[in-house]
């Protein structure tokens, strides 16, 4: 039960930010809730690992990232059908226009794996070495993917900014 308590403590400390990460990834509040629950259950199942984990926060985010990517792979076809039927975004989670525009930009310009990396790096503050451990990629591969994603986003926002001027 000590391991259970450790997972509970870890979750209590980070559930809020992990939940925010999941919402940004899948843009569907009810799905994000389920994924947060799945993340908690996965962490409990793997609780014995926690004794050997140096970076517990990264471990938890690694589980959440895996859950989100898996859900996105599963839901892509359904999502496309929903968008076709509704003719608009069914899954937007915010009324804040700037936030919706930013989430649209991330979804349009980055594939889910790159989006996961960019969010973990620039919103949640993980270093390339931590992301490498989370993803199984080499630190250099993580840096390259981040560089590509960064260049793409900054180029797009720069172009959009000039158009507005």
């Amino acid at each position: 039960m000590a391991a259970d308590s450790a997972v509970e403590e870890l979750f209590r400390a980070h559930a809020q930010e992990v939940g925010r990460y999941l919402v940004a990834m899948v843009r569907d509040r009810s799905l994000a809730e389920d994924l947060l629950q799945d993340t908690f259950c996965d962490a409990l199942r793997a609780r014995e690992q926690l004794r050997h984990v140096e970076n517990e926060r990264a471990w938890l985010y690694g589980i959440a990232r895996h859950r989100a990517l898996r859900a996105l792979r599963r839901g892509r076809r359904l999502h496309r059908a929903l968008v076709r039927l509704a003719g608009s975004r069914e899954v937007a989670v915010e009324s804040d226009e700037a936030l919706v525009a930013l989430l649209d930009l991330l979804e349009r310009e980055l594939d889910p794996e790159s989006r996961a990396l960019v969010l973990l790096r620039y919103v949640h503050g993980f270093r390339a070495a931590e992301l490498a451990e989370m993803t199984g990629l080499s630190p250099e591969a993580v840096r390259q993917r981040l560089a590509r994603g960064r260049a793409r986003l900054l180029a797009t926002t720069s172009t959009e900014g000039k158009k507005e001027e």
Partner: protein, 238 residues
Amino acid sequence: MLREIDDIRMSELLAPLARLESVALHEPGERRSRRLRPIFAVAVVAAALAVTGVAIAAGFGAFANISAAQHPQASADQLSPGTAAFVAREGCGTGHMSADGRFIPYTCDPGSSRLLSTLPNGDKLYVLEESGFAPLCILLEGAGLSICGGVDETHPVLQTASISSDSSILAGVAMDGVKSVSFKIGGKDVTVPVSDNAWAYEGPGEPTNVGGAPLITCVTAHLADGSSVPEDPSEACS
């Protein structure tokens, strides 16, 4: 230097995401995901059989679709006191957080155990009734592993695994009609037969998945009629 400037621009660009409202854990009754669907399916099957007059042995509801477990508990099915205490203490290693932040564990009934199989290494595979959140617990005695879930037509197998750098053990139950189970582990394709609703794999150690990436993928049930049911249809398994 340029990269540092770009990093700052990225942080500024993404700063509004801090305003994104998070989500919270919810009670299991509110859950909408696929995990509760097998429970519903099992309940429907049990109710239908009851209406048609089929005798329901003790534990039948939990053991629907698992013929090898549908018999009165025999002495061979009973857990040792140590294992029963483990089951009572550990449940199935999962649960949910209540609204007031307490952890509610899912529990398994040690008195409901049915022995399905004994692995070559001596570990025993049991099925047990769960406390009400999932119909079934599977217990791999020896490895000290338990997990909750259900089996039905869309999710015909349920397994637990112990993976370390020394050895890999994967064992589970399969619903009636499943002849074999295949999966990938450490890049290798493995197929194991199902006997009396049980299946198991013992192999060499594999790297552990600290990052949450799956070690075991493409779990697929192969049925007697020649059809196959993947655990996750979205996985690329060719």
